[in-house]
Amino acid sequence: MNRIFKKMSPAGDAAVENLSDHPAGHPLSVHDLTVAYHRKPVLWDVDLDIPDGKLVGIVGPNGAGKSTLLKACLELIPRTSGEVAIYGEPYKNQRHLVGYVPQRESVDWDFPVSALDVVAMGTYRKLGWLKRVGKKERDLARHALEQVGIGDLADRQISQLSGGQQQRVFLARALAQDAQLYFMDEPFAAVDAATEQAIVKLLQELNSQGKTCLVVHHDLATVAKYFDWVILLNMRVVASGPTAEIFTPENLEKTYGGQLNLLNQAVQALQSIGK
């Protein structure tokens, strides 16, 4: 880790001067990360180094610690040990560079707010304490909703949106945060085909702007299509690297172990891509 810091910092300083809105250094470096709930480890000795501008899929069986990895990086849950660096620095210095899309089920969709209110929450960090949401923030939120294709639903109360539309509201909120590095927890879970396409388009757009997205993903069949970097996770990091090299039947077998059904699906998925 220290080696990385030393290598990064001079270049980092220079780059910050040249291109102030795009920080230098690797978006995410995780070293020796261990997380435990009630003394039972959920993540064990995780080492990761994600290069800039990648679409990264995080793949693994249920209970592999995928969401935990995201939350531990964002300091939403305590780490047992280890370090996380976001663009070469601790998260608390780099909040403004990170956008977070939690799992859709993590909030109460009967809450009395409109879609626009929720998206405007993405602008709160820049606003800071006590300041109110003004026209500028509302315009930004409206624009973000248009980007995910539901600009016409801005004034709907969020319980009156379909699952896919709710997911798009969350993505629009992340857009309104205007981050460099995005953590997305299962954005593709239980969404309709149109939403899936909208998310993919959005990911590619973010990618073309040089932003990095870490996406927890369940559908093995689409991993190779959507992501150019993949992290195979099952409590430990089984493998992490370019999808073409890492997303192999051998690695998947190591990740999914005895879960043959899933494994077969994965092999079929790989074969279908091969053809």
């Binding site: 109460d108 969709w109 809450f111 707010v113 319980s159």
Partner: protein, 316 residues
């Protein structure tokens, strides 16, 4: 029925109390921690008793301080027991608030002979007596309880107006609040302090048992009617104030129809709040029983079933 000036003071005190309770109450309901209000309203008792025993007076400021400290302790202890003891939050709350409440009762009981603090007054309130204890404000004689409730209401209103955005964010998505740099812990404990302080103000009006009705029922009623949080807060205050008026009116009229004397106002306030909820639940547009019977949800034809009822996984 005769309406004397004292009746107006009683209603005003009750209304200010109910509005002071309704504001933090809305956020308790939205955060699915209504029972935390109950827990804190009971648990502040030892804080009150200690403040009282130490200073020997019912001076409000020390009482509020004692209540605020114990209110935060309740929230902290509950969280510790939940996390370290690996028990469910409801059970942890049950452990903490009954223990603290019992401790408070013991303290009051043992001191009751020497000093003027009546357990039954703490439990059930004595709003009928509030006009007797007055202070002078700008040359007018104002009941102390009215003044205290008014100050607490304005304080709560000020905090919630100033931190509306922050409270809404952390109630809706505490994880996002933390990642954006708005400490959800700080906001959580601020809300707990508000609840504790409000509870103390409400003690004299409605007592520690019925204060939960003032915290929760107007908020729950308002949530049936609108999807806009600002309006929810406003309506909750209106429902709280109306139940104070209807409650007192009921207390001095209803029993006479059956040949009895008047009855306890705070009890009738909570009953009135419950009645208002019942009426709204039946006649509310969109969500009410009547509306659902007639519309059979035809007004929301494009709603896919999935995702609509996504429940939150856990509250703090």
């Amino acid at each position: 029925m005769t309406w004397i000036p004292e009746d107006s003071w009683i209603v005003l005190t009750g209304a200010l109390c109910a509005m002071a309770c309704a504001l933090p109450g809305c956020f308790l309901v939205l955060r699915k921690m209504s029972m935390m209000g109950d827990a804190i309203s009971h648990a502040v008792l030892p804080g009150l008793a200690t403040a009282f025993l130490v200073t020997g007076s019912r001076a409000s400021l020390t009482m509020f301080l004692g209540a605020a400290v114990v209110g935060v302790l309740t929230a902290v202890f509950t969280q510790w027991i939940t996390r370290l003891g690996n028990v469910d939050q409801g059970a942890a709350m049950g452990i903490v608030f009954t223990t603290l409440f019992a401790l408070g009762l013991v303290l009051i009981r043992s001191a009751a002979d020497k000093v003027d603090l009546d357990p039954s007054c703490v439990l059930y309130g004595a709003i009928e007596l509030t006009p007797l204890d007055t202070v002078t404000l700008f040359g007018y004689l104002v009941p102390r309880a009215t003044l205290v409730s008014g100050i607490v209401f304005l304080l709560n209103l000020g905090i919630i107006v100033a931190l509306f955005k922050e409270f809404r964010l952390s109630a809706f998505d505490s994880g996002l609040a933390d990642t954006l740099g708005f400490s959800s812990h700080f906001l959580h404990y601020l809300l707990m302090v508000m609840v504790a302080v409000t509870t103390v103000a409400a003690f004299e009006a409605v007592g520690s048992v019925i204060v939960i009705a003032m915290l929760i029922v107007p908020a729950a009623t308002a949530l049936l009617l609108t999807h806009r949080l600002g309006l929810v807060l406003l309506l909750a205050c209106l429902f709280g104030a109306s139940s104070a008026f209807l409650g007192h009116l009921g207390a001095i009229t209803v029993p006479t129809w059956f040949g009895f004397q008047d009855t306890n106002t705070s009890g009738m306030m909570a009953t009135a709040a419950g009645f208002l909820f019942l009426i709204v639940w039946i006649v509310a547009p969109r969500t009410g029983l009547v509306a659902q019977f007639f519309h059979k949800r035809t007004d929301l034809p494009d709603l896919p079933s999935q995702g609509k009822k996504a429940r939150p996984t856990a509250s703090r």
